[in-house]
Amino acid sequence: MSMRQRLRVIVSRAWALFASRNADPEFEDELQTHLQMLTERFASQGMSAKDAASAARRQLGNTTLLQQRQREARTFLSLSNLWGDVRFGGRMLRRSPGSNAAVVVALALGIGMISAMFSFVNALLLRPPAGVDTPGTLFEIWQHNRASAGIESYFPFTYPDYRDYSNRSQAFSGLLAFDGDGAPAIWNRAGEGEVVQGQLVSGNFFSLLGVNAALGRILSDADDQQGNPQPVVVLSDSFWRHRMGADPHVVGKAMTLNGSSFRVVGVAAAGFEGLVVGNEPEFWVPLTMQEQFTRDRDRMTDRQAYWLLVVGRLRAGMHGAQARAEMHTLARQLEIEHPDSNKNIDAMVYPAALVPGPFRGYVGLFTGLLMAVFGLVLLIACTNAASLLLARATGRAREMAIRQALGAGRGRLILQLVVESLLLSSIAGAAGVALAWWETDMLLALKPASIPISLRVPLDWRVLLFTGAVSVLTGMVFGMIPALRSTRVDAAPVLKEETQTGSVRKSRLRSLLMIGEVATCTVLLAGAALCVRSLRNANSIDPGFDTHHIAVATLDPASLGYSDEKTEAFYRDLLEHVRMLPNVIAASYVDHLPLGTAREATSVRSHVGAKNPTMVDVFSVGPDYFATMGITLLRGRDFTRSELTKGPATVAIVNETLAQRMWPGRDPVGQRMAIGDQKIETEVIGVAKTGKYRTLGEEPLPVLYRGSMPPQRTLLVRSSGDARPLLDAVRREVQSVDPSMAATDLETIEQYMAFPLFPAHTIGLLLGVSGILAVVLTAIGLFGLIAYVVSQQTHEIGIRLALGARREDVLKLVLRQGLLITMIGLAIGLGAGLAATRLLAVLLYGIRPDDPVTFLGVSAGLTAVALLACYIPARRAIRIDPMSALRHE
């Protein structure tokens, strides 16, 4: 039969699975008609009715058998057969519950870990925003700088750009915009300040998304008119429930946000939590009210203030490709109209999901890597399962032989064995879903409280479908080899009980599987160990400041509209108050903490008008900053109080890196420099030790400390002991200095540091778990194999012992097999590992991908575990009593 014919038959059989539900009765009719015609014919030839009927039956043949054959040939399998296989498989599984439970647990761990990873992928990348009408037609639009590369080449929209795109687009029925960073505000409630998260949104935000009001109304375009902005606010359902006690009369009430009065017009429908992960607003206000939140007067007209995320609703009948093409065209139009600001700026379109389009590749890479690691763990669990099934197949060789002798086809037997494997893997899959559910909760709990992200990771149909597919695939992977092997039985010798030869072949196949398992485990361990060591290298980096004993809190008097004098007075009073607290040895403030998300930079020249400026990161600090943070001043002195409060800075402190770059080989103290475009030169009064400012892994960065402070500052309070008890005290002091003020991000420096360390900690934890799982599973696999070999060789060992072999020799004999497998597996694994870890090179910090210590350590550790796993069953071998072993059989 040609390939095409074969395909035809397969298609036609597959079609029969669904199509001909009444094929059986039809065929029966056909046969009955045939039988009647035959009978009539015989009767017309002169036979008696009885003779004619029996002659007809004889001539047609065994109709029951015919129907059975027809049923088998018509499609792949009949459902009645499959159900029989499932029930039979269930009975077989119940026969050895212990080992099956072990297989199921191992597989469930593997499947559960992969599913947990996938549910994160799903929640972040695949699932559209919740609570929104037909999310399939929503698309994010990002601006992209063609002249730049990497993640920095993508950026949000300016307000004028948003208006232009919004007015000109035909492919989208509308474009909405919202403030990507969110607008935190102080909510003044009965004289006390409380920080709440808001979002500035365009007037069509809710109507375009199809989000309704549960109470009152949603925002409208009329609220969001430039020149006539309305101070109205829509509350989120959870804010209204948890912070306002679900007040049914909230609509129409006034609410003081950042010192201005807003009118509550509605509560958004429950289930809508915003469009971007990590940004779940508690209230929404019109974009045109932005000045109350950003204190930026020009933002609505500035063509270089990029702050708006834009989402479009596709017009009915339009396709994503058309929208894409239109956005490119509009970008080119704007490039021509505004060459200053829009040169090289393109617009990119992505389907709406919780992670912004440009970042999806990074998140995907990160989660994909972890999924690959857990895929290896699952592969190891599969190998164990296959190995166990192979061992069991030996015991079932007789069953297979009998069934073949009775006429069962090989395909039929394979099918039945695969059904048994699928039964196992489905149970494991179900357990895996439960595990995944628990694991995602656990992983979410690991997230430091300071990361303002509340993520819902639901087990929706995508996760269930994925887990189902992984389970079936798993079942096929570990079920196929044993099924193929164990149905290749030569019935005659098996039935005559000459079974030993078959089992030796099978244990050789098991050894091969085990070698593969050890190799996989080696690759995984080497990769995991390298990553964990690299993370530990990165974590042990000295950030250059004390990471203990400090409480931090962020304050922003400007959000209440305070004047500069009032702001200074507030901070002066606050510092005085907190310095009086017990155990406090120093207190200061800074405009932003190092290793956070905020950053400020400027340029430094050796004198006014000099060429080749050096770009530096700038920190604006308060008095005693260096003492409070535990940063060492290498030379010179700290700022004095008066230097910090006087107008433009005339003195500055530099870090060592900047000093070396500006004045190599000279004493930096007393040197002069020009900061930014200032016309007055600044004098260097001190040199601080270089630390880490942006990320822990960075190269030394030049940094400048100066005194001019913006109103938003981070308060630093240093304790002589644990800083935790200080948190409540600081909160009280803020309230007592100014009742309408509220501190955000009140935490200890340890909690703060959890933020830069969070990714590393999570990956380290997951890799550690995967490594432990892999080692345990491999040990169990080795143990099982050696135990099996010993049980098969009981007779042989008995003879050896009876002939005078020493127990040590027997022990060596058994151990040698295990060690041989381990060594071959290790050799293959090390080879593959060296190749595979090269791919990790870009991710590793302070360690080479072929680090000999790591590879040696992994080899030694794995060998030790393997020896132990083999030794336990081997001891059973030397305890064999020769007499009873020989009497057996």
Binding site: M1, Q5, R8, V9, S12, R13, E26, F27, D29, E30, L31, T33, H34, Q36, M37, L38, Q59, L60, G61, N62, T63, L66, R69, Q70, A73, R74, G409
Partner: protein, 114 residues
């Protein structure tokens, strides 16, 4: 499972059915069995039920099609007819059969030599 002997028989039956449908047009199973019986002049002993196994196989390969209709004496019966690709297959198989039977005939006619 089928041994070598029935394989040849199966193939032959398939060919005979195709030829019958080609020669006589649409037929039901009973009619096909009669035609083969008639042509084979009782040389081939046939369990008529196997015709249906053959018909299913031919159908799955797309060489014949079937539909329900009325028989001569008003019985509901399934009528089988040859398809376009069935015609092509018949031509191919006929050629094949003639070649092989020619070879076998020549071999069987060999005289004893020496």
């Amino acid at each position: 499972m089928g041994g070598g002997k029935s394989e040849v028989l199966q193939g032959t039956l398939d060919l005979m059915i195709l030829k019958t449908l080609y020669a006589l047009g649409p037929q039901h199973g009973f009619g096909i069995a009669r035609r083969i019986e008639q042509l084979s002049q009782d040389v081939l002993q046939l369990n008529e039920g196997t015709v249906y196994t053959s018909l299913l196989r031919l159908q799955q390969q797309g060489w014949i099609a079937s539909k329900w209709g009325q028989s001569e004496n008003n019985r509901k019966a399934r009528f089988y007819s040859i398809t376009k690709s069935g015609l092509k297959q018949l031509e191919l198989e006929t050629e094949n059969w003639e070649r092989i039977s020619g070879v076998i005939g020549r071999v069987l006619r060999l005289e004893r030599q020496g």
